[in-house]
């Protein structure tokens, strides 16, 4: 369990940060509402 925790920490540490102004893409589904939701 010690080894696993160390791997997770390293993976988290190496994560590439999003550039400034990055807007995450919208979820693929469901799509946009064209009129209104009831």
């Amino acid at each position: 369990s010690v080894a696993r925790r160390a791997v997770a920490e390293v993976a988290q540490h190496n994560k590439v940060p999003h550039p400034v102004g990055f807007v995450p893409p919208p979820p693929p589904c469901p799509g946009k509402i064209r009129h209104f939701k009831i």
Partner: protein
Amino acid sequence: VPAAPLAPLGCDDPESEAAAEFAVNYINGHNHHGFKFDLNRIENIRMIHQGPNNYVIFLELDLLETSCHVLSPTPLKNCTVRSITQHAVEGDCDVKLQKLDGAFSVLASKCNSHADSSEDVLQICPGCALLAAFNNTEVLTAVATALNDHNSKTPDAYLRLLEIGRANIQYAPAHVVYVEFAVAATNCSAAEAKDNVEACQLLPDDQSNFGFCTATMVIHPSQDLSVDCRLYGHQVPTPDPGVTYSHPGYDTS
């Protein structure tokens, strides 16, 4: 060998929208009662590869009722979606399509429609008229009275009721019944129909012989009636695009 799933297709991708547009046109073209429905949202889409240029697409669609009767030649893009204050009706559809060599065809479709809840409508619009059942006595009276009123005032063809499309009743501050119904022209004039209405036959199934009426009947505080009937023959017929199908639906409800 099971077909391999493709990379997920987003619900707002152009490919998804093209499939949904085809599906909505198919649904409207195969629905012979009530009103045309317009796409509100693509809820989900799955695409399965069947072979070279051959895919099966499963669509889940959320539709909304428009003001255009299914018999109306008005293209869907010119039809207004009913607002919440009119007591909107939603359609939930599951559609299975095939895309073969770039051409869509519908393999199966299933739709269920339901009205918005009365509580939701009244929360937004406390005085709004809510949908009423077609067999409601006031609705039936309003339709019969409106059609008689129209037929008695016009020298044109005697109109017969095809179906009631919608009815709303408001109780306060005034008691008002709003009805919308489809009609068909007969081979009689109103005067001829007065002598023997049974002899009046519907004209052949030509779109120009169908029409649509809206009527407002005020019951309280004072009685009043206004009726507007129009035959679709007075419009320029423009069929919706993409309503020709390479395969008729195998399983459509």
